[in-house]
Symmetry: C2
Subunit: 92 residues, 2 copies
Amino acid sequence: MPDDNTVLIGKKPVMNYVLACITFFHGGAKEVSIKARGQSIGRAIDVAEVVRRRFLPDVKVKNVGIGTDKIMPLEEGRQLTNVSSIEITLER
Amino acid sequence: MPDDNTVLIGKKPVMNYVLACITFFHGGAKEVSIKARGQSIGRAIDVAEVVRRRFLPDVKVKNVGIGTDKIMPLEEGRQLTNVSSIEITLER
């Protein structure tokens, strides 16, 4: 799946990301991938659920993957930290 | 799968829930289900990742399901609210 159909979830309101997903599907995408890390993970699920329950009922959750990413510390001398991640693949 | 092999994630430290999962597996469970809602969802993924990466490398993520639960409001006259949920099934 090409990376351009990926919505990266940050701190913005859920509806911003919902709109991004809908735009991909309206542009002809068959699959859209929603990715998030750490505290944004809950919002990623909110986005997937709002897209398929409120706006595009023909969209299904194809796959949900979880994992761990290593984060480089901002300050020197500190250790790598682990952060959980999620990738939700929606399919039309 | 029987409901007794389920760990419900709340606001306690991640290691509390990790220990609960490990206890189930050490008691002979083949599958353990980790469930969370709303703001605890990120912690559920942390628990699954710590269990399988740090303590039980033979445990795999069998399935991850996402959904929406309806929450009864505490005060009368307010509407039902939706909250996202996750269920992670670990398998040995």
